[in-house]
Symmetry: C3
Subunit: 324 residues, 3 copies
Amino acid sequence: MTSTFNWAQWCASSRWFASLDMTLRGCSQVMFQNNPLTGLLFFIAIFMGAYGEGLPQVAFGCLLGTVVATGSAALIVTDRSALRAGLFGYNGCLIGAALPTFLSMSTLLWVSITLGGLLSVIVTLALSRLLKLWKLAVLTAPFVFTTWSLLLASYAFSHLNPAHLPLAAMPSSVPEHAGYLSLSEIVTGTLQGVSQVFLFSNVASGVLLLLGLGITSRWAMALGFLGALLATLIAGGLGADPHSISAGLYAFSAVLTAIALGSVFNRPGWRVLIYTLLGVIFTVVAQGAFNTLLTPLGIPSLTMPFVLVCWLLLLANPKIISPE
Amino acid sequence: MTSTFNWAQWCASSRWFASLDMTLRGCSQVMFQNNPLTGLLFFIAIFMGAYGEGLPQVAFGCLLGTVVATGSAALIVTDRSALRAGLFGYNGCLIGAALPTFLSMSTLLWVSITLGGLLSVIVTLALSRLLKLWKLAVLTAPFVFTTWSLLLASYAFSHLNPAHLPLAAMPSSVPEHAGYLSLSEIVTGTLQGVSQVFLFSNVASGVLLLLGLGITSRWAMALGFLGALLATLIAGGLGADPHSISAGLYAFSAVLTAIALGSVFNRPGWRVLIYTLLGVIFTVVAQGAFNTLLTPLGIPSLTMPFVLVCWLLLLANPKIISPE
Amino acid sequence: MTSTFNWAQWCASSRWFASLDMTLRGCSQVMFQNNPLTGLLFFIAIFMGAYGEGLPQVAFGCLLGTVVATGSAALIVTDRSALRAGLFGYNGCLIGAALPTFLSMSTLLWVSITLGGLLSVIVTLALSRLLKLWKLAVLTAPFVFTTWSLLLASYAFSHLNPAHLPLAAMPSSVPEHAGYLSLSEIVTGTLQGVSQVFLFSNVASGVLLLLGLGITSRWAMALGFLGALLATLIAGGLGADPHSISAGLYAFSAVLTAIALGSVFNRPGWRVLIYTLLGVIFTVVAQGAFNTLLTPLGIPSLTMPFVLVCWLLLLANPKIISPE
């Protein structure tokens, strides 16, 4: 605990350490943690994954997005404790991962990440005020709305090239495929599903992200892993496209749903476990639905299935959050 | 009245009769009635219509959906009087009609109806809390959102085959057609429009559904019939596709709008009649708009035009509901 | 000031002058002004622009829409001061401009404008009640929602011919084009952008509209002009389609955003200028995003980018509206 103590002292005495602390916490908040060490492990996992995919810009985008969002919030936000906990950084972090994943490299890409980081803070403030009436958290909705806007706009602006977006098309049925998922498909689907929270597929990064969770909370680590595993199995059982499953594309929203419903918003217990299980099932269905919904628009669903399912379950059962 | 009295006694003394009562009331609530006999006539009409179309699964789906939704609500809902009035059953009933209409037969279809019935209760609770601020009822929105999610997801999951969904396509103008609707087209459009509330086309079922309404309220029966007739005539006058009109596809939402605005939420009178007339006109326009909106997604508009128009008119004029 | 005094006297003593006054103010409210003389200049600009494009029905539609909306509101609305200020007329005015722009001439077109004018009042009342919880104004959302509904419906109703709507298509990237905007493209983009608020492209009309603004407020005139100029330059810098830019299609929403954020809802000052600048940038991005979003539906984005960006910024920063 001495090291943590020192860190807290350093942050109190130096503006640079305080900024670094907020940036690391911002990254850890992507998975609802408030811990600079978890954030550091997450950043290492992101750099590993991004370089592994030959897209280092994803990692640098994450860093830039977190810094810009945290910095913008430092200028305009009055709720300093939320700021220090990284609650204005995580949406910027995800925007910084998403834009370089789908747009091709250019100066304007970095401008977009910067603008997106700032925009994410404004969307966070606006959505918070909108949702306060129902005591709902904004979750990653600011990331989703900001990124969708910029990706949709990239079709209209030729200097923002949507080179890596899915081609817009008419929805059509996934072809029937024979057989079950193999064990290796299930394992890669699960672990790459964890890494897909940051929009890349990498087994080792997935393990590192889980370890990062484990530093703060073993319960969150277990929920994240089991959420991803369960989602992978359900998607397989429903006959989803096996390539998407093993790339982790049916699991990443479920990771967040499981951690959110199972450990953040509710007190652990049997009721909460059933609730979390339902949440994961609904998230997989919502993932399938959003894939179809967005096919004619040529944009990805990001973490919207997670956001919608959590809002739904929290609205339906506000008592479970604070039983007393 | 002796028979009703006995029925109430039976329900009080036997859990089985109470469950049957709730299920029948749940079916009658699809058209805003709270009467087990109306529910029984509705179920007879549904079985007639479903067997008439060669799709018995639609009728059994209705039954399953109503039972599952009512049963799930019995486990989790605290508002027992709403439960007993069937207010947690009608959305499940409609989901049970819709899924077998659009998806092909499989074990997973029955799993989906079960999941959909449960989901409809959760969506009802969530939406109720959301809309309470404006004193709006959820209407059939839980049915629409749940069914849309499952139908959209059916494109992504090969074990849920969307065999009978409209093919996703680009919106294009309906071709101009000469002449007026014949009297027989108007009559079938109107009566099949009533039966289309449960997603099938059957003149005799439509008559039986109106009779079922008449048992509880002659005013509701008249409104339902006139709403369907008026919507058919307006759609004809606007030049909608004549096949859709005579299949009742422009009338079913208007049936619900007319009953809701004319008898449930407002006190009868001249003002309410004008209001209901406007509601029917707007519902037909909204039906046309939703048909275009959903064409690229390959899903049907269900009763969303009714829901939106009622919300609009109730929001615009809250006073007309309780004039004192 | 003697003439204004007389005008007020005339309006007080004659119902006809009062109605004319409300109609003119309704037109001036399209750009947030409450001045019959501004409304008169706007109508002159509209007639000039409509005849210039060979579409006189656009001008007569504007007139009809404003009169019907104001008249309907006079029958059903209790807030008489809002009525007299033209706050129930401007959405009807815009609907009257939009429908003849996109639909071909027919008797039903005039019926639609009349219905649309009435509907705009109901949507205004409904949305006002919905948004009151967050103290948000409806802006031009009633115009957008009503017009979208009628345009989408026009695909389904053969007697409402959507002859001049964009063809529904899959989104695809705008082709890269070499070089910068010329000075004349920037000037026409800016001034036609002002005229595009009323859905036509006309430099002289744009100038006249700015003069109409200037009669009431020079600050509003400057903001409108600078908003249009800035939006044109940003769209050019992002590589938007040059034909759309010089037709003013990237500027009209920004005109409204600039006037709304810079002069109506906020007190002038440096903070507000930065805020307005951000609003214009976000409006251009939102314009690009909506263009893509609506491509598969074959309908235009109208002023939705302006509405959304203003709601976003007003939600995020309610204090800036009334700093004390």
